[in-house]
Structures are given as C-alpha cells and as structure tokens.
Amino acid sequence: MATGKSKSARVARPARKTTLLIATRKGLWTLTGDATRRNFKIEGPNFLGNVVHHAMLDPRDGKTLLAAARTGHLGPTVFRSTDRGRTWKEAAAPPAFEPGSGRTVDHTFWLAPGHASEPGVWYAGTSPQGLFRSTDGGVTWSGVAGFNAHPNRKAWCGGDQDGTPDGPKLHSILIDPRDPKHMYIAMSSGGIFESTDRGADWKPLNHGVRADFLPDPNAEFGHDPHCLRLHPLLPDRLYHQNHCGIYRLDRPGDRWTDIGVSMPKSVGSIGFPMVLHPRDPDTLWVFPMDGTSVWPRVSPGGKPAAYRSVNGGKTWQRQATGLPKAQAWWTVKRQAMTADSAATVGVCFGTTSGEVWGSRDEGRAWKCLARNLPHIYAVEAC
C-alpha cells in the first residue's frame, strides 16, 4: 500500500499541549489543553464581531494561521498570522471572483493547506461555490479557473442563490498526499468532484450517492455532501457525510457505498461533521442531527450523541456518556469536529449553542471544555 506519508505520520505523537482553534459567529477563540488533556484554558477573542467560518494552522511550518472572516456589514477577507496567532495581518488580495464574471464572494468558508511538498500553497472554498489558490501563504489569492470558469460549473452548482440556507458552499478541499495534482472537492450543493491535474479540469464523483431532493435521485451531480474526508495513510479511502446518508468509497472504484444504512433508524444517518482516526482508516466518527420534516438541524430528540464505527462503517456505536441526556437542542456544524493524534485519540466538537466538548478516550466519555461562546462554526486541533 502506497501511503505517501513518512513513518512519523503513522505513529502517535507524544503527549503535549493541544490547541483548538474555535471559529464562531462572533470571533475566534483558542482553547489550549495541557498534556493530560484534562485542563483547558480559553483565550480570545480575536476579531470580535467578525463571523469566522474557519481557521487553520499550516501543518508544514507549525506557525502560520489563516482565518476566514467577514462581518454583517463588511465584505469577506482572510487574516494571516505567522506567529501562531500572536499577531495578525489582513491578506493583500483575499479570495474574489474575476471582475466581469458577475459573481461575488459572500464569504470564504473553507481553508485548506496545500500539499506537503508545496509550502506556501493554500486553497480556499467560498460561498457561493468558488475555488481559490494562494501560492504565498495566503497573502494573495487567485481563482482556480479550471473550476470557477468551467463550462459546466453552473450546471453542477445551480445559481448562486441556490443551495443551503446560509448560501451554497465549496468545502472539503482534499489533496492526495501522494500527488499534489490529485484533488477532491465537495459542494453543498453540487456534489463531489475530482481533479487529476491540479484543478485544471474536474469530473463528478457521485455514483451511488442518493439525492432524494432531486427529480432524478441517481443524478450525476447536484448532490449535497456535507463533509468529505480522505484518510491520510490510506488516501484511496474516502468517506463522506451527506444530506442523504453516510458513504464510503475505496478508489479506484467510483461507486459510493451507503454505510449509513447500519445507523439506528430512530437516529438516522444525516449530520454535518465527520472525523477520521488519524492512524486507523477503519475508525470514524459522525454526529447525527434531525433531518426529518422541515430539517430542524438539532440533535435527534434533543439527545446529542456521536456515533463511532471501528470497521469502516459496517456497524456503529453510540457514544453519549457525559453528554446531556435530554433537552439539548444543539448540533455540530461540518467543520466543528476534530481529532488529535495522541496515542489514545482525543475527539472534540463545538456546538451551535457555543459549547466545546472533548473526549480524551476516543469518544467513550465526553466532558464540556468551554461554554457560553457564540455559535461555533469550526473547531480545528493543532
């Protein structure tokens, strides 16, 4: 099996501090845990009053942070730090569509560091759906014409007014660790797409995925993936949480298998986030929400729980120890759940009600790490 990863990536990291970047509707906070992951300290806010959709650390240098922000009045931008958040500076040219294209970026939704062999390269996904690249560490951004100007883009995505309630989004920008030219993206709505030429051209990759909301439930595109993940040690293993189920795909196959069918019927298989175990490609977590009737987007029955599979989605176990047992009407957004790389993996998530929950034992027990924050959009461990 080709992995494209160094041996060090396959082993658990020694105990050390864990920092969570908490991006919220009202700013950015950090939550830092000691080596035991029992004691956490919250710091912030940065960018108070800004809607921060995502913040990411560059794993290639361990010190560059990017944060995607906008306010109710002001247009979208990207802030950069090259000292792990001590100081910040605005991007000189944030993601923006080409003048004359008629399209405008409402907000940058997703930030993704590029391939390990390409320091300084970042990708951004926007609402409405656009793909952007920076080659200078996020200082300046340019549209990826192979996607933004693709003749089929509008057919794939629909109009800029279509899509999810907070605007249609391009997210889950994944780079194959074996090949920087091999990329995946996901769009709500639009579906999952693959490029083998660094984004110059794209093909839909949605066979087997249901689209119950379309006239043709087996359409080639137009699906609503919520979160797409690629396992870093087994890059041919893809999972995704969809509007219509949970799916797995082992390349070079091109037909997704619905692994959500083994979820309890009373809970269903709809949710936003998905997290993979950093070393075991068969272990993953999802956080279901109520997608019935008018799509309440809350925990089913007001009883939040993560579900974990340790066999690639054949079976799922409910993990709710420590979480509220009733009357907890929050959920977890697609970027708001993450895992660390400790020997016993820590899993954390942030809620729409402004709480951060963490497990230091792979989801067996949960503890509230912070509360009273604004609506949480993203949680990333670094």
Binding site: G72, H73, L74, G75, A92, P94, A96, S101, R103, T104
Partner: protein
C-alpha cells in the same frame, strides 16, 4: 474632502474618525474609494465588491445626500460619510 470613517472601518485608519483627501474636481466616488484604498490597503474591498457594486449594508453620503452609484461626482463635495447601515434589530 473630509471622509468620515465609521467605527467598523477604523481598524484600517489606525482609529482615525476622519481622513482628509485632496481630490481633483472631476473625481468620482469610485476615485475617492480608490484613493482611500491606496492609503489604507484592503479598505475598498470590504465596502465594494469585486464587481464594483456597493456592498448591501454600506451607504455613502456626499454632503448629506445619499450616493447610490460609484460614478457619482464627488470631487467638489466637502464631505463623504460612509455608513454601516442599520440592517438588523
């Protein structure tokens, strides 16, 4: 021209509430915003989108009269007021 800067943009002007610009008599509102962006990089994109349209919750007043188009003549105005419009409860 005196430009009155709203609180939400003062991070660009080092906290200054007003900025003084020297303009030609032919300058348009777009020219004024271009000058401001030269002086305070990034300023313009937060209030005018990449297609050259005013952002939805931003208003411009030249000598107290709302300018609805960036082509509006501005070079002979004494004051530009930039407003983050009331757009919520």
């Amino acid at each position: 021209m005196q430009v009155r800067i709203p609180g939400l943009l003062r991070s660009y002007t080092n906290g200054a509430e007003t900025v003084t610009l020297e303009l030609s008599g032919e300058a348009s509102l777009a020219d004024v915003l271009g000058d401001l962006d030269d002086r305070f990089p990034g300023f313009k994109f937060r209030i005018v989108d990449e297609q050259g349209a005013m952002r939805p919750h931003i208003r411009f007043f030249l000598d107290g009269v709302q300018a609805r188009d960036l082509a509006t003549p501005a070079g002979r105005s004494a004051e530009l007021m930039i407003v983050g419009a009331l757009s919520g409860g």
